[in-house]
Each structure stands twice: as structure tokens, then as C-alpha cells.
């Protein structure tokens, strides 16, 4: 990953005329300044911190959309895992590092030997759990029931997607590299600009960028990793 978050802030700020520099030279200097600070932003409408917050919102939206697609390859950019869970345990809301779990669950993995479990009906799992001495052959079955998991192993964990809002805000402010794939930098810029609207300020522009952003989200929902080209309607 090699797209620093402040590249996105600079691109978004430029589109809202927020960067310091009335002429091309000073504006270019501000555009290339790293890290950016509140002093590099001159907008009286959207302060520097708002760019950080709205960039976080765009990243959240993209992350949630990716996490909702069961087999999307970009899930690895959001990868986390739950703590080890015994059969009947409640599935936690956060992964084993404390980040919030988002989207649909990934594979269920045996904590001991790393084998992937297969989903089976509750009835099959129950039959196994009620007659443990009957069986000699190990089976790797699970079922998700409400907010808990039943399974036939000693302990399992779920592969999940995670997003920690606080850590994301910190990462953007610190100009860390974007956690999402580089190809989504343009989508994050579009998502950020789409949220830069107040009363009658930048309404038309925000609507245009919102369309760009929506196209990307739609493509991701379909499992795509090749994103649509930006074209104004």
C-alpha cells in the first residue's frame, strides 16, 4: 500500500478550493506539502479536520461494501479474526485486537489445525454434539444460529473484516498509507468530495462526485476489482 492519506486530502481540498494558495505556485506548494496541517487549509466552509472526518466516512463506506461481499479479494485489506470460540459461544462484535467487525463473516477455521469448517444444518451439529462418544472420524462442521456459533471442533475462529473508526481517524491525521488497495484512492477522493456540501455550497459538484462514488460501490457489490471509469453524466 503506498497511497498516503494526505494525497487524498490534498486532492479533495483542491476540488473545494480549500488549500492555501491563491495562485498556481503557492497552491502547488501547498498541494505537495506533507504532512498537511490545518494551516494548509484556508476554507471557511470545511476545516482540515472535516476533510479527515469525511475521508474516514468514504473509507468506511468502501470498507463496509467490500466486507459485505463474501468472497471479494479486497477483504484481505480489512482482515481480522475473532478470538477462539467454543461451540455455543456468542460471536463477538470485535475481533481479537478489539476492532469492530463489519460485513459478512468469512471462513470458520479450526483453531488447532487450521482446517476450514463447512456449514451444516443445526440438526446435524446437534446430533453430533449430543452423541460425542459415538463418533471416531473428525468432522469440521459449523452453523451460525442467531448471534452464536455451533460447531464440532474444540475451538474455532472466524475470519472477519474489521474497521476501527478511531484508528482510522488517527491514521488519516498521521498521513499513514491507505489500508485499502491503491486503486481505490480515486474512489476515496470521490467519496470525500461527495460529502463536502453545506447549504448551497458545492451542491452540484458533490452530486457529480457522489455518482462517481456510487458507481464504484455498485461495482464492488458485484465482486469487481476493476472499477468503472469516471464519466460525467
Amino acid at each position: 500500500m503506498s497511497v498516503p492519506y494526505h494525497d487524498i486530502l490534498a486532492a479533495a481540498g483542491t476540488r473545494c478550493n480549500a488549500l492555501v494558495g491563491a495562485k498556481a505556485g503557492p497552491l502547488e506548494t501547498t498541494y505537495l506539502t506533507r504532512p498537511l496541517t490545518a494551516a494548509n487549509f484556508q476554507s471557511s466552509i470545511f476545516p482540515f479536520s472535516d476533510y479527515i472526518a469525511q475521508t474516514a466516512s468514504a473509507v468506511q463506506k468502501l470498507s463496509q461494501t467490500i466486507a459485505d461481499v463474501r468472497d471479494h479479494p479486497w477483504r484481505r485489506n480489512l482482515a481480522g479474526r475473532t478470538a477462539d470460540l467454543a461451540s455455543g459461544a456468542t460471536i463477538p462484535a470485535a475481533d481479537n485486537a478489539g476492532a469492530s467487525i463489519i460485513g459478512v463473516y468469512g471462513n470458520v477455521i479450526d483453531s488447532d489445525d487450521g482446517q476450514v469448517l463447512s456449514e451444516q444444518p443445526d440438526e446435524t451439529i446437534r446430533r453430533r454434539l449430543l452423541t460425542p462418544s459415538l463418533w471416531k472420524i473428525p468432522v469440521y462442521h459449523f452453523s451460525l444460529t442467531g448471534d452464536s456459533i455451533l460447531h464440532t471442533r474444540t475451538e474455532v475462529y472466524l475470519e472477519v473484516c474489521v474497521l476501527d473508526y478511531g484508528a482510522l481517524i488517527t491514521a488519516i491525521g498521521a498521513n499513514d498509507d491507505m489500508a485499502l488497495p491503491d486503486v481505490l484512492a480515486e474512489a476515496v477522493i470521490c467519496g470525500t468530495v461527495a460529502l463536502m456540501v453545506r447549504d448551497d455550497e458545492f451542491v452540484l459538484q458533490a452530486g457529480t462526485y457522489a455518482e462517481y462514488f456510487a458507481e464504484t460501490l455498485k461495482a464492488i457489490r458485484g465482486g469487481a476489482t476493476v472499477l468503472p471509469v469516471k464519466e460525467a453524466a
Binding site: 463447512s118 451444516q120 446435524t124 446430533r127 453430533r128 463418533w135 471416531k136 472420524i137 473428525p138 468432522v139 462442521h141
Partner: protein, 192 residues
């Protein structure tokens, strides 16, 4: 071959020609294991019915008698008893004088016909397991306390753990694998 390998082989054979994307059908190890005991018995009976193959599964089982009666292990099937031989470690001369009497009432009568011969029978007992009853030559009632050896076509034991090796001839394992695969295939065909 371990028990786990046996189950895996049968499951794989059962899937031949099936739609591999039918994931529910792929997870049939538990169903396979539930069929092992009847499949072992079925194959054992098939072997018992073939005089050329009986020796594959003929095993000597030591039965502990108390006053002429002792419990048989569940691996000895009633259908296989007509081909069995019984020997007495206390008297190795009487094996040829022993007669198997399938019906219990005939067994009680037979003891009085010719006391120079010995008789044995097996009665069903769902609580303890089937019971061997044994009257020695010269006796008219069951008296022996001690061991007798019953050599008979015997169902191989289902291993106690998944990693344990199947204690059976390869010919039996091959037949049982195919029989289990066929049993699973019929269930797959119904589910598909």
C-alpha cells in the same frame, strides 16, 4: 489403512460422477461412519457365503464359560455359526466330537441322545449379548467353567480411533470400501 483413510476413500469413491459443487453432499463423513457397522456385517456375511473366502475372516475367539454358558462378542454373527468349530483348551481331543445345534430346545434334547458327543448352541440375549451354551461329551447338562475357543467367521472390529489401523485383510477392506461407497452413493442420488 487407518479408519480415517478408509472413510475418506469411500467418500471419494461415492462422489465419482456427482456434482462436486453440491457442498452439502461433500460433507458425508459422519453419514459414512454411521454406516460402517452395518457395512462391515454385510461384507462379512458375503464372505461367509463364499467358501473360498471364509478363511479371510475366520478368527479364534476365546469365550469364558461359567457353568457352561458365556457371552459372545457382538462381532460373531448368528448366520456364521454353522461353519464354526469349538475347541476346549482343557481337552484337545473333543473338538471332533462337538456338534452345533442351532435351536435351543433341540440342544436340550440332544444332550440326552448320545452322551459320548458334546453339543453347543447360541441363544439370543439382548441385554448381555448372545450366549454360548456348551455341554461337554459325557455330560448331560452344562457344567464347564473356564475357556473354550470358538473359531468362526468374525466381523472385523470397528477401530476405536480415527487414526487406528483397520485390523482386517486387504481383500475385506477393499470390499467394505466399495460397499460403503455404494451405500453413500444411493443417498447422494436421493438427495440430488
Amino acid at each position: 489403512m487407518t479408519f480415517l483413510e478408509f472413510i475418506a476413500t469411500a467418500c471419494q469413491q461415492a462422489l465419482a460422477g456427482a456434482d462436486a459443487s453440491e457442498s452439502v453432499l461433500l460433507n458425508m463423513e459422519q453419514t459414512a461412519e454411521s454406516l460402517v457397522s452395518p457395512v462391515f456385517k454385510s461384507v462379512t456375511l458375503a464372505i461367509n457365503a463364499d467358501p473360498d473366502k471364509r478363511s479371510l475372516l475366520r478368527r479364534t475367539n476365546t469365550i469364558v464359560l461359567t457353568t457352561g454358558a458365556g457371552v459372545l462378542p457382538a462381532t460373531i454373527l448368528m448366520e456364521c455359526l454353522p461353519g464354526a468349530t469349538i475347541t476346549d483348551p482343557d481337552d484337545d481331543t473333543i473338538a471332533q466330537d462337538m456338534s452345533y445345534v442351532p435351536d435351543y430346545f433341540d440342544f436340550l434334547d440332544a444332550a440326552g441322545y448320545e452322551v459320548r458327543l458334546g453339543y453347543w448352541t447360541v441363544t439370543a440375549n439382548p441385554t448381555t449379548g448372545n450366549v454360548l451354551r456348551y455341554i461337554r461329551p459325557g455330560d448331560t447338562v452344562e457344567t464347564k467353567t473356564g475357556d473354550v475357543d470358538l473359531t468362526v467367521v468374525t466381523v472385523p472390529t470397528v477401530p476405536a480411533t480415527s487414526g487406528a489401523t483397520l485390523d482386517a485383510p486387504q481383500e475385506f477392506i477393499d470390499m467394505a470400501t466399495i460397499a460403503l461407497a455404494i451405500a453413500l452413493s444411493s443417498k447422494i442420488a436421493k438427495a440430488a
